[in-house]
Structure formats: structure tokens, C-alpha cells
């Protein structure tokens, strides 16, 4: 079958996309879902394991109460109903990274149902309806060795790390999202972004897509415009960044339209997204997929959260990110565009704390998004991982405001603080960075500059005051930036008038 190449605009002229998102979030609990093993990321393979998470014969799971609490809080933040009684179920299929060859999950009795999350796209609010939020366990990680693709095909052997096996996982499933038209890719991205912010605000997961603590499967189908008949959907996996969410929807819409335009049929299947090409390729076909043979997990007792406790949890929910954003944006006077970069840099809390420590919103944002963001970038770390605290940043700004240092010196003060030389005050003293505004001390430097630049001096004498800038520069250079520029300028004009 020949597939017609179609542009995205053409797709949305003829088809209406229906999308759905299944998002997995690894909870940041100290211990695993069914046992006391640690959950830290990056440990040596198979060092955070025990008979339970290795699924050894005879071992049994016990539910992690913190994971249940975190899931309920997610459900509440997504405006879901919380079940008064629910159960776990076994999802049976064979895979070597799943030690029991079944995953303990929830099936027809999820803990949270029927919620929604409002997201903003192009200044317009889109309500994404949430079908369910349920608890399950993560699998181990398989590394296929010897093949060219890193996939099991062609590999000579595989290595399995069970450290991740049994880490609590929450799956958040949307209802089908319709009526978004050409904005479907943006809506998908906006939803995942908003979901990430909600969960981050709850402090129940670090929601890092690049580390896999938040993973997204994107369902896409096309319906001929006006037909009201939904097409066959595909499920795209391996979507590992917010940008990829948007690209995956877009590319799958284009691909499906091409197949349909050529008179072909969409196969219900799992597809893999490729970051490099931005395209999806066929994975396992759903028709030959396993029958999971779900049944209630007999090793666990049902969970019946006390409604009074659920209400208590509701009272402790943080301010919803959308409201918080509106409040902060207003207070800081930040445009939508600038806000996005602040969020992406993970700087919201840092800036807030810096303001709380006495800096103005403008200056707090300037340091974190400018100088400090650059340094974080250079060293490949997160802003919050830099060895400087918001109150230290506020301290630097206070020195600037007091006229004791200028912006250029402030950068050196930041260097010192980041190098562990102490507080901003201590760095200023130790490095001798204070601005020199003593006219006596500066007089000599000004005289030298005048002597060295007779032409410029002449211009100034003849009234071209603007030329003073060149002399100021010379003085600043001579004093290694430590002179107060304003004082130098006044001195020059005074001497030459």
C-alpha cells in the first residue's frame, strides 16, 4: 500500500483527532510498594532487592501505606472521587523483568475515579477529564546486550536489574479527549505539563521524565471530520519528554492520515516513538497481545480508606498550580512566556524563597534566570542543586542595593559563594570586592586616565560630556571593576570642567 504524504494542516482539515493519555508516575516513597527495600535512583544493579520484590517462591506483598496516601492525594488534586472500598488485581503476562510474571495492579476497582484537570492552551482553558487513577508496581529494567538496536531482537543476552521492581507506580488515565482539532498535540503537552506540576506540588514524586519517574503513553486515533465515528487507535510508548508528547501526537496524526487517505486501515497496536526522527514505528500488535487474565489479588486484602481521613488529606492539599501560577505571575509581573521559562528552569520555588528573604521579584528572577541558570547549564546540574541558597542570593542583591558592590562584582561574589567561600558578606571581605567610592583613592586613577587619553579629555573640556564614558571605562579597567562608576564619572567631569 502506498501511503500518501500529508501535511499537518491537511490532516486537521479532514480529520478530527481523539487522543488519550496514560501517565505512569513513580512515587517518591522511601520504600517499595510491597516490601521495605529502598527506592533510590541509580544504585548498583540488584542491590535494592529482597525475597518479596524478587518474587521468590513463598514471598508475599504487603501494601505500603504511604503509597496509598500519595495516590489518594493525587486523586484529590485531580478532583477525583475516592473509592470507599477497592482491591488490587493481578495482571498476568510473562516478561523477565517482572519477577512474579504478573504485575499487581488495579483493574475494575481503582482507588480514584472521575476527575478532571484544567489546562491552558493559547490562553484558553481546556478541561481534561480523568477516567481513573490507580496503584500498581513498577517492573525491573532489562538491558539487551549484543544487538545493534538495544532491543531484544538480535541481542546475544539480556541483563536484568530488579532495583526498580516493586517501586510504587501510579497510573493516571484520561478519558478520550475530543474536539481539540489542530491543537491536539499542544493539548497533550499542556496536560502532561500540568499533571507534572500538580504532582510536583504534592511532593509525592520527583516526576522527572528523563529519569523515567514520569512516563507517558499516548493514544491517538482519527475520526473523519463530521462523521462522529472514532477510528482505530494506536498506543505510542517511549515518549520521554514533554516535547516528545507533542511531537508523538503530531507525527501519529500525520501517519494515520496518510494511511487512511491511501485507503488503508489503522492497525490497533503499540508503537514506539523515536526521539531522533520524531516518528513512531510499529511495536507489538494488540491483536496478538496477551490476555492479561485479571483477577482480584488474593494475597492482599481490600483497601477501604476512611472517608474522614480522605477529608483530612483534602484539607492538606497545596494550592493548585494553576491558581498559584496566576497569583505569582501577578505578584511578580511576569509574562506568560517568561513564566514558562521560569517553570522549565525549575526556578519558581527558588525565586519565591529569594523574594521571601528580602529581594525584589525582579532582582530575584534576574539572578536565578540569568547568572545562576547559566552556571547550572555549564555544569549540567539543576538550579536547585547549585550550592547556593535563596537567602544567599538575596544577600548578594542586598549588597548591590546598598551600593557596596555593583552587578559585575556581584558575579564574583556569586562565584565565591558557589565555591564554598562563605556568605556573600564573607566573600566580599575575603576577596576585597567592595566598590571603591572614596574620591581620594579614585582621584589618582582618574588623573592617570586623563593623562593617558588627552584627546578624550579635550573633547570633554569642550563640552562633549558624553565622551566621559571612555575615561570611565579606563578607570574601571585600572581598578579591576571595583570603582563605583557613578563616582568616577562625576570626578572626571569635575576635574575637566
Amino acid at each position: 500500500m502506498t501511503v500518501t504524504a500529508v501535511s499537518f494542516d491537511e490532516v486537521t482539515e479532514r480529520y478530527e483527532p481523539v487522543i488519550g493519555l496514560e501517565t505512569h508516575v513513580e512515587l517518591g516513597t522511601k520504600t517499595k510498594m510491597w516490601c521495605g527495600c529502598a527506592t533510590g535512583f541509580g544504585a548498583e544493579p540488584n542491590t535494592q532487592v529482597c525475597p518479596v520484590c524478587l518474587g521468590l517462591p513463598g514471598s508475599l506483598p504487603v501494601v505500603n501505606a504511604s503509597a496509598v496516601e500519595a495516590t489518594i492525594r493525587i486523586g484529590l488534586a485531580l478532583n477525583c472521587s475516592i473509592a470507599t472500598w477497592c482491591r488490587f488485581a493481578r495482571k498476568n503476562y510473562f516478561y523477565p523483568d517482572m519477577p512474579k510474571n504478573y504485575q499487581i495492579s488495579q483493574y475494575d476497582e481503582p482507588i480514584c475515579t472521575d476527575g478532571y484537570l484544567d489546562v491552558e492552551v493559547d490562553g484558553e482553558t481546556v478541561r481534561i477529564e480523568i477516567e481513573r487513577v490507580h496503584m500498581e508496581e513498577d517492573t525491573g529494567k532489562t538491558l539487551h546486550v549484543g544487538g545493534s538496536t538495544g532491543r531484544i531482537h538480535g541481542a546475544t543476552h539480556s541483563l536484568v536489574d530488579y532495583n526498580r521492581a516493586g517501586i510504587p507506580l501510579v497510573e493516571i488515565v484520561t478519558k478520550p479527549i475530543t474536539g481539540t482539532g489542530a491543537r491536539a498535540p499542544q493539548v497533550a503537552r499542556a496536560y502532561v505539563t500540568a499533571l507534572r506540576d500538580v504532582i510536583r506540588g504534592l511532593d509525592v514524586s520527583d516526576v522527572r521524565m528523563e529519569q523515567g519517574s514520569m512516563r507517558c503513553d499516548v493514544n491517538t486515533s482519527l475520526s473523519p471530520s463530521g462523521s462522529g465515528v472514532w477510528g482505530t487507535r494506536t498506543e505510542t510508548k517511549n515518549v520521554n519528554s514533554l516535547r516528545s508528547v507533542e511531537r508523538a501526537v503530531r507525527s501519529e496524526m500525520i501517519r494515520q492520515a496518510g494511511v487512511l487517505d491511501a485507503g488503508g486501515k489503522i492497525t490497533q497496536e503499540t508503537r514506539h516513538f523515536h526521539e531522533d526522527t520524531g516518528e513512531t514505528t510499529s511495536g507489538r500488535s494488540k491483536e496478538e497481545a496477551t490476555d492479561y487474565r485479571y483477577f482480584p489479588e488474593p494475597d492482599l486484602v481490600p483497601i477501604a480508606p476512611d472517608p474522614a481521613w480522605v477529608e483530612e488529606l483534602r484539607q492538606t492539599l497545596p494550592e493548585p498550580p494553576a491558581l498559584r501560577r496566576k497569583r505569582i505571575q501577578q505578584a511578580w509581573g511576569v509574562s506568560d512566556h517568561d513564566w514558562a521559562s521560569v517553570v522549565n528552569a525549575g526556578a519558581v520555588e527558588l525565586i519565591e524563597a529569594t523574594i521571601a528573604a528580602g529581594a525584589s521579584p525582579e532582582s530575584a528572577r534576574k539572578w536565578w534566570m540569568g547568572e545562576l541558570a547559566r552556571r547550572a547549564n555549564e555544569t549540567g546540574t539543576e538550579l536547585e542543586a547549585l550550592p547556593i541558597t535563596p537567602s544567599q542570593v538575596a544577600g548578594v542583591q542586598a549588597l548591590v542595593d546598598a551600593g557596596r558592590i555593583n552587578d559585575k562584582l556581584a558575579r564574583q561574589v556569586l562565584d565565591g559563594v558557589l565555591a564554598g567561600e562563605g556568605s556573600p558578606e564573607e566573600v566580599v571581605v575575603a576577596r576585597g570586592l567592595e566598590v571603591v567610592s572614596d574620591t581620594g583613592a579614585l582621584g589618582a586613577a582618574v588623573d592617570e586616565a586623563i593623562a593617558a587619553n588627552p584627546d578624550v579629555a579635550e573633547k570633554i573640556r569642550s563640552g562633549k560630556v558624553a565622551a566621559a564614558g571612555a575615561l570611565v571605562g579606563a578607570v574601571m579597567k585600572a581598578t579591576k571593576g571595583q570603582a563605583d562608576a557613578k563616582t568616577v564619572r562625576e570626578l572626571i567631569i569635575q576635574k575637566l570642567s
Partner: protein, 509 residues
């Protein structure tokens, strides 16, 4: 080290007597252990109860009991008493196979909760005993390591699946044993070997470290030659375990006190219900006669004996053979050659799925495969409601039958098995006949209730040979395990301890 002359005597003692002799210093725990190890060497060639004998571990444990005594430390009630442990219970450092080739050679890195409790109580684990593969069977003929034999008649089965446990205790290789019961796997072997065997209330004993067959039914429980010995072991293993979510956080029923009280033979005020549906066609006349005689004894001791009807018990077999295989099909999925146990066909060329398939093909026996297939089918989409779903409804109806019966009765009774021990080989080719061995024992686990089997005398063996033991089953409401022991102790007081009449076997003298 063998102890001349005293060996035979020590193996004839009850657990209670043995513990008393050790506590008083009449005999050392090491002497007791050696006497039983000698007995195993003498008779286990015939009986084939043991899959693994742990001489070193047993002697080390016995020595630590002797040391404790020498230091004046308090000893628990079964300290120094030898025990046979069903090979479905994991033991750190000691091979655990669940009767299957697929686990041959597996050395668990951890102890089951009940293993730990027994070690802490100073119970001397002599070794691991035979069973039907993954506890699926009623004769031990499904063991990958050969069948065990009934000491009363070596051509017959000691029952199953805990047939190694029953054979070991009936052959005086150990005074007590641990078995597990899913559909009758403690009570049926106890019945056909003249022993006492109890299936506790579901959740009464931790399942942590029991290789799962059917998670919603499996319970570990004690075997003994006397009711008191059985109760003492029950108290060692019972109690809440935070590692098992289905374990009940309630006090252990006072089973030892009940066994002592029942031995007085006074059952005044007790109403006993004889379950009408557990009798009649398919039940051997000798078995029914022995049970009727036992009911008469109950009346003599002051109990009121009435007939009750449990109309849904007839569906128990069908429901059981959907629920247990369904859970088993999932529980046994983990045996895939990846992390432990057998691996077949891993030649560097064959792929993962092929190695998994070859391993499971070679590692599982026919009955296990049959049940995995039945269970896989019953859970399949499109069939779930008709099979697994329907079976769960039957389970509810059986529970209601029990609840209704317990409104008027304190305990329910029936034969434990429809027949005396059958001949080895007699039912291996007829799964339905084999399944029928469990007709009377299935309802209690489906409802999660406690039930005990206590000897009710001997009956003629169809096909000739010596007379064989008959078991009487006593069922009680959840957590009323003590009632089972009380009535069983009364029966034992009236009829005598049957196990003492078991043949001594060649080599015992």
C-alpha cells in the same frame, strides 16, 4: 551418633512426653534427634517420607536446646522435639522443592515465618518431606521424586498432598509434622494414616514462605499422633504476621487448653451437626460405620448430635477445581528459568520464550500442567464470569450454608475422606476419582473455616489387606479452632490413640 537400645523407645514417645523428658534432663535433645535420624535411616527406604534429611541442622538445633537447658534458660513447650517439615515451606539454606523438578536444587535465602517460629521455639527440623508437586494431589503420586508409602500398608498412599508429613509421623520418624491444606491436604493424609491433622482458620497461620498453590485457600497446619501434640504445634506456628496481609491480627485460639479440656470427655451442652450431604453414595460402608460409632460416642459424652443440611456442599468440588487452578496458574508463572530453579535449552541460540517454554515443559508434571491449563482457561477474557466468577459465587453460598448450620450447631462433623487409603497407582490415571478423595474436606477451606481430622478407628480395606484408619472431620466457625481440638480430644479419649497401633515396619526392631 546412634544411641543403642533407647532409640526405638524415644521415637515411640509423644511430643509432649519428649519435651517433658528433655526439660527434666531425662534425655538430651541430641539423643532424641539421633534416635529419629536412626529411625529415618531404618525405615525411610520403605516409607519414602523424606526428600531431604538435614542431620547437621537437626543436631545443631538439638545442641542449642541442650545448651539452653544447661544454662538454666527457659525452654518452650516443644523445645527439642523433632519435626518433619513439608517441602512447600521455605527453609533458609536448605533445599526446598515443593515436590517439583522445576525447583530441584533451590536453596532459599530466607525462612518462612513458621520456619522461623519453630526455630525460635527450639523445634528440631529433621528435614523436608515429600508432597504432591506444588501440593496438587491427594496421594503424593504427583511428587516429582516418587510417592511416599502408608506405614499401615506400604502398597497404599499416605494421602496427599502432605503425604510425606503423614507418612513420617505414622512411621515414627518424627512425632509431629507440618503440612499445608488447600482442599484437604492435611486432613486427608492424617485420616488415612491414623493421625490428627488440623487446618487452621484462614489467616490464623502466616503464609509467608509457603510456596503458594492457591493463595485464598492455602493454610499451614500441624500433624501429630495425639490431639495435644497437634495443639502444641499449632500454638507454635499460629499468630499474626505483618509479612502476610491476609494474616489475622487477633489472639490465637486457646487450642492447647481446649485439647486438655476435651480429654476429660465431657461434651455436655455441645451441639454437633452431622452434615447430611457428606455421606451416602461413594462412601465406603466401613468408613461410615466408624464415623457413626464416633457420633454415638459424642452423644455418650453429653453432646447433642443432629443432622444438618448444607445444600451447596455438592458444588464445592466444582468451585474448588476452578478457584484453586486459577490462582495456581498465576502463582506458578514465576517459575520461568530466569532467576532460580531449572533452566532447559539455554544454549545461547534459543530465545527467551523458547527457554521458558522448554523449562516449564520439562519441569512441571502432568497434574500441574493440567491445572495451569484449567486455571488459564477459567481466567480468560470471555470465560472469567462463567467460571472463576461463578465459582466465587458458589463459595459465598457455601459460606452461607456454614453460617446457617452454625446457628444451631457448635461444630459440624463428617467423615474426613469417603474411603480408607487407596492403593498406589489405583487413581493416577483417573483425575476425577483422585479429586473425589477431597469431597468432604473442600467446603471448610472454601469458607476459610478451621477443621480437624481425628482418628475414628479402623475399617476393612476394600481389596483386602490389614484394616486401615478412618478419620472423623470436625469443622468449626472461623477462629473457633479450639472447638475442633476440644471435640477431637474427647473422641481420642473415648477411642484411644490410634497411631500407636500402626505396624512397626521392618527394620524398626
Amino acid at each position: 551418633m546412634a544411641v543403642p537400645d533407647s532409640g526405638d523407645d524415644l521415637t515411640r514417645l509423644t511430643a509432649t512426653e519428649t519435651a517433658a523428658k528433655i526439660a527434666s534432663g531425662d534425655v538430651s535433645a541430641v539423643e532424641v534427634a539421633n534416635a529419629h535420624l536412626d529411625r529415618i535411616r531404618a525405615v525411610d527406604g520403605d516409607v519414602h517420607a523424606f526428600l531431604t534429611v538435614d542431620e547437621d541442622g537437626a543436631i545443631a538445633c538439638a545442641e542449642s536446646v541442650d545448651d539452653k537447658r544447661a544454662n538454666g534458660e527457659p525452654l518452650s513447650p516443644l523445645a527439642g522435639v523433632p519435626l518433619a517439615l513439608k517441602d512447600v515451606v521455605v527453609t533458609r539454606g536448605l533445599q526446598t522443592t515443593s515436590g517439583s523438578k522445576i525447583l530441584e536444587g533451590w536453596i532459599p535465602p530466607y525462612d518462612a515465618t513458621i520456619t522461623r517460629k519453630m526455630r525460635e521455639a527450639g523445634v528440631v527440623i529433621l528435614g523436608k518431606v515429600n508432597m504432591d508437586e506444588f501440593a496438587m494431589g491427594s496421594s503424593t503420586e504427583n511428587s516429582a521424586f516418587g510417592a511416599s508409602r502408608n506405614p499401615w500398608d506400604l502398597t497404599r498412599t499416605p494421602g496427599g498432598s502432605s503425604g510425606g508429613s503423614s507418612a513420617a509421623v505414622a512411621a515414627f520418624e518424627a512425632p509431629i509434622a507440618i503440612g499445608t491444606d488447600t482442599g484437604g491436604s492435611i486432613r486427608q493424609p492424617a485420616a488415612v494414616t491414623g493421625l490428627v491433622g488440623h487446618k487452621p482458620t484462614y489467616g490464623g497461620v502466616s503464609r509467608y514462605g509457603l510456596i503458594a498453590f492457591s493463595s485464598s485457600l492455602d493454610q499451614a497446619g500441624p500433624f501429630g499422633r495425639t490431639v495435644l501434640d497437634t495443639a502444641l504445634l499449632h500454638e507454635v506456628i499460629a499468630g499474626h504476621d505483618p509479612m502476610d496481609s491476609t494474616s489475622l491480627d487477633v489472639p490465637v485460639p486457646p487450642v492447647v487448653a481446649a485439647a486438655r479440656e476435651g480429654a476429660h470427655g465431657d461434651l455436655a451442652g455441645l451441639t454437633v451437626g452431622v452434615v447430611k450431604e457428606l455421606g451416602g453414595e461413594g462412601y465406603e460402608p466401613g468408613v461410615e460405620a466408624a464415623c457413626r460409632a464416633a457420633y454415638a460416642k459424642l452423644e455418650e459424652m453429653g453432646a447433642k448430635v443432629v443432622e444438618v443440611s448444607c445444600p451447596h456442599f455438592g458444588y464445592a468440588l466444582a468451585a474448588y477445581y476452578l478457584i484453586a487452578p486459577s490462582e495456581a496458574s498465576s502463582n506458578l508463572a514465576r517459575f520461568d528459568a530466569v532467576r532460580y530453579g531449572l533452566r532447559v535449552g539455554d544454549d545461547g541460540v534459543r530465545g527467551l520464550e523458547e527457554v521458558m517454554s522448554l523449562t516449564r515443559e520439562a519441569g512441571f508434571g502432568a497434574e500441574v500442567k493440567r491445572r495451569i491449563m484449567i486455571g488459564t482457561y477459567a481466567l480468560s477474557s470471555g470465560y472469567y464470569d462463567a467460571y472463576y466468577g461463578q465459582a466465587q459465587k458458589v463459595r459465598t453460598l457455601i459460606s452461607r450454608d456454614f453460617a446457617a448450620a452454625f446457628e444451631t450447631c457448635d461444630v459440624l462433623v463428617s467423615p474426613t475422606t469417603p474411603t480408607v487409603a487407596f492403593k498406589l497407582g489405583e487413581r493416577v490415571d483417573d483425575p476425577m476419582a483422585m479429586y473425589a478423595s477431597d469431597l468432604c474436606t473442600l467446603p471448610a477451606p472454601l469458607a476459610g473455616l478451621p477443621a480437624i481430622s481425628v482418628p475414628a478407628g479402623l475399617a476393612a480395606a476394600p481389596g483386602g489387606g490389614p484394616e486401615l484408619p478412618v478419620g472423623l472431620q470436625i469443622m468449626a466457625p472461623a477462629l473457633a479452632d479450639d472447638r475442633c481440638y476440644r471435640v477431637a480430644a474427647a473422641v481420642e479419649a473415648a477411642l484411644g490413640v490410634l497411631a500407636d497401633k500402626a505396624p512397626l515396619l521392618e527394620g524398626a526392631k
